[in-house]
């Protein structure tokens, strides 16, 4: 039932998309058919109509954008765009003492993509330009007054203020996030690694071979390691999220308890952990648990153990220690959130439960917990996905160590996907596999978010507790 609904929805979305596209094309055709010469020339020269109609501000802007994009595409982008199919064929070589420069796959891929985006932008601006011209023509035809240049300028701070505000942030996200991510997604389909470092060794497209590698379970294949690392990542995120969650609530309830004094002091003591930079506290704690560290030192001195506990050497023990240390990191944060929320629970709920003779445990189980789970559902989800990618805790505590057994790609027993990705990039320059792992991280994060989000009661039933 739900599935067919979803299928229906997707089909509808697709149909809608095509009908929008159809209408758009129709409108463009109509614009040309009904257009005067000013509008028709605007199809080639952006902003031409606006310029002739006296709106030089928008006319010049459109023209400048066209000129800029065309210049970029033809003078710079085209050389790279044309080689995007092969990623270059001639490597840079040294002949005698002279360096003969050839192609550079990295540049071809990066600037080729940029040129592609420029082409898309060109089409989008062209569409805007056509629409602007048509609107102006219709306004004039109907005998209304065109907005002046001053109006155009003022609108940037009023009705079009969103464009002013978003221009810079969207550009920033595009150049520093979208472009690099698209680039890396492409790298996942190439053989860009330590043996293919341009410009002396070009890399090229290899299709889905890297994904094949990831799921091959032979001795040299990444399959076994990937499954090990992924399993630990999921297990870690589960424990890190839920242990911290429940203990955080417990601590918040301790502090909130009636009759407890110095509430602010207790909270502040815990909050210090959030304030002190993790690279200081976690690096110190990692040495605290070292074989020659304080904890082993005192336990040995007091005669409680005969030899040092191998906190970071034994894989299982290392995993447990990480989760325990993470409790130390995570509780204060959860405590802060829980404190605020616990105060929101209506006191009369507890009052009536008490009259009915409920014990505190029953009250916790039937009032506090359901309320907290309901309200913090989406937060728990973001915590979980955040922990999947919790680079700091793992890297600063163990750097993924210990390395035992037959894991490939430099992975250690406590590596998460994200730290493994980091190591592959930094130590092995195995960019192709790093890109594949990055895509896997995305699939895991997005998959879990999508599934859980749709199951959350607070999403299904927003009014439930209000």
């Amino acid at each position: 039932m739900a599935k067919t609904n979803k299928g229906q929805k997707r089909k509808n979305a697709l149909a809608q998309f095509f009908s929008v596209l159809g209408n758009d094309l129709k409108e463009i055709g109509l614009t040309f058919k009904e257009g005067d010469f000013k509008t028709r020339i605007s199809f080639m020269i952006f902003g031409f109509g606006s310029l002739l109609r006296g709106l030089w501000l928008r006319g010049l802007t459109l023209l400048a954008v066209e000129a800029g994009l065309l210049y970029f595409i033809f003078s710079f982008g085209w050389t790279y765009l044309s080689k995007l199919g092969t990623l270059g064929t001639i490597a840079t070589t040294k002949q005698g003492r002279k360096t003969v420069y050839g192609d550079n796959s990295f540049l071809i891929l990066l600037f080729g993509l940029l040129a592609l985006f420029a082409v898309v932008a060109f089409i989008a601006v062209w569409r805007i330009n056509v629409r602007v011209s048509r609107t102006e023509q219709i306004i004039l035809r109907d005998g209304r007054k065109l907005p002046t240049n001053g109006d155009d300028f003022k609108s940037l701070f009023d009705s079009n203020f969103d464009k002013t505000l978003l221009a810079l942030p969207v550009t920033g996200v595009f150049v520093f996030t979208v472009l690099p991510i698209v680039f890396m997604i492409c790298v996942a389909f190439t053989n860009y690694d330590a043996n293919h470092q341009p410009p002396s060794n070009l890399f090229t497209w290899v299709g889905v071979e890297n994904f094949h590698d990831l799921f091959s379970f032979g001795t040299a294949g990444f399959g076994g390691t990937f499954v090990t690392v992924l399993t630990w990542t999921l297990v870690w995120a589960f424990f890190a999220t839920f242990i911290d969650y429940f203990l955080g609530i417990a601590v918040a309830m301790l502090i909130n308890k009636k009759g407890i004094k110095f509430k602010k002091l207790w909270r502040t003591i815990l909050v210090v952990t959030i304030a002190v930079p993790q690279f200081v506290s976690l690096l110190y704690v990692s040495k605290l648990f070292a074989n020659d560290g304080l904890i082993n030192g005192y336990l040995l001195k007091w005669g409680l153990i005969d030899q040092a506990i191998q906190f970071w050497v034994n894989p299982t023990l290392a995993k447990i220690t990480i989760i325990v240390v993470n409790i130390w990191i995570g509780i204060p944060y959860m405590m802060l959130i829980a404190t605020g929320l616990l105060m929101n629970i209506p006191e009369d709920l507890y009052e009536s439960a008490r009259i009915d003779g409920a014990t505190s445990w029953q009250m916790f189980l039937h009032i506090t917990l359901p309320y907290m789970l309901f309200v913090t559902g989406p937060f728990l989800l973001t915590q979980y996905t955040g922990n999947l990618n919790n680079f700091n805790v793992i890297f600063l505590l163990t750097q993924g160590q210990p390395k035992t057994g037959n894991l490939v790609g430099g992975a250690g027993r406590t590596d998460l996907l994200i730290t493994w990705l980091y190591k592959m990039t930094i130590n092995d320059t195995n960019y192709r596999m790093a890109a594949v792992i990055g895509i896997m991280v995305f699939i895991v994060t997005a998959g879990i978010s999508l599934v859980v989000y749709n199951l959350l009661p607070s999403v299904k039933d927003e009014e439930g507790f209000q």
């Binding site: 203020f161 978003l166 996200v173 520093f176 304030a275 930079p277 913090t376 995305f442």
Partner: protein, 294 residues
């Protein structure tokens, strides 16, 4: 309240309950503060082999207290003051610009309805699920073209921290959503433009969330290791404190540098901790608000 038990035993029960709670809280406090106590003590231990040992030892109180480690940080033998200054510059600049960008994005998304608004929000949400480090290889190259790596890593890092800050609008937009729209509309009927509403009405009302955003944006670069280590790679003078001190501990000979690391850590941690304590109220407000809205 149920009156079927006599008040005396109720009182005693409560007193016992409170006593247990106090004991638990004291134990928790000790556990939470212990590492900082250890850190502080180790920072006062001398690394001079004639006096004591600068590595990891199995006792907590140093045999003799000295300021050797702190002197070492500032006596010109290493770049510590430079690293510290780098971190400060990066954090202040990133925090300021980041806050401005977040405010702009939040206002646009909260108050204005334009084509592509939902698309933009969904697109950024999906984009946020890619691991940030994935962008690093490409970013490094782009920055290198601009001369903003290694020697120019400080402005380069600022750029990296602020470039995508627009995507972190959630908490701030959530706060803006709670400011009644009727206020905007009233001002606009009186002839105020959107820009005026934003600058003269919304921003003054958003003080708590501005402080929260700035604080979080400050703490990110202050503690960042990953990006800083990649962009400043191998160029000692452009390190931030996190990268430099991580090298003391892991790459270098930590047995000799442990106490120096502790002293450096204290010097880094104290100002940010004080700042945080001072602004704790706003932080709690932001975190709680963000968590409930999700």
């Amino acid at each position: 309240m149920a009156n079927n038990t006599n008040p005396g035993s109720m009182k005693r029960k409560r007193a016992i309950g409170n006593a247990i709670t106090y004991v638990l809280l004291i134990i928790i406090s000790i556990i939470w503060l212990f590492p900082y106590f250890g850190l502080l003590m180790a920072s006062f231990r001398s690394f001079d082999p004639a006096i004591e040992y600068g590595g990891v030892v199995d006792y907590i109180i140093p045999h003799t207290f000295s300021l050797d480690n702190y002197k070492f940080l500032f006596n010109g033998e290493n770049n510590y003051p430079k690293w510290y200054l780098n971190t400060l510059i990066i954090s202040f600049a990133a925090s300021f610009i980041n806050t401005c960008i977040v405010l702009c994005v939040s206002y646009a998304l909260s108050r204005m309805r334009f084509t592509g608004r939902t698309f933009l929000m969904r697109f950024w949400l999906v984009l946020g699920m890619f691991p940030g480090f994935l962008t690093m290889i490409c970013l490094y190259f782009l920055l290198k073209q601009l001369g903003l790596t290694q020697a120019g890593a400080v402005p380069g890092l600022i750029l990296v921290y602020i470039a995508s800050s627009g995507m972190g609008y959630y908490v701030c937009k959530g706060y803006f959503d709670t400011i009644p729209k009727a206020l905007d509309e009233a001002a606009r009927i009186d002839g105020a433009s959107r820009a005026r509403v934003f600058f003269q009405m919304i921003i003054p009302m958003a003080k708590p969330i501005i402080i929260y955003t700035a604080l979080v944006a400050f703490m990110g670069p202050w503690c960042d290791y990953v990006f800083a280590s990649y962009i400043a790679f191998g160029h000692d003078a452009s390190y931030n404190v996190a990268v430099a001190m991580q090298r003391w501990m892991v790459v270098g000979d930590y047995q000799g540098y442990f106490t120096r690391f502790c002293a450096g850590g204290i010097v880094v941690a104290v100002p940010i901790t004080l700042l945080f304590m001072f602004l704790q109220k706003y932080y709690v407000e932001g975190v709680t608000g963000g968590a409930v809205k999700g």
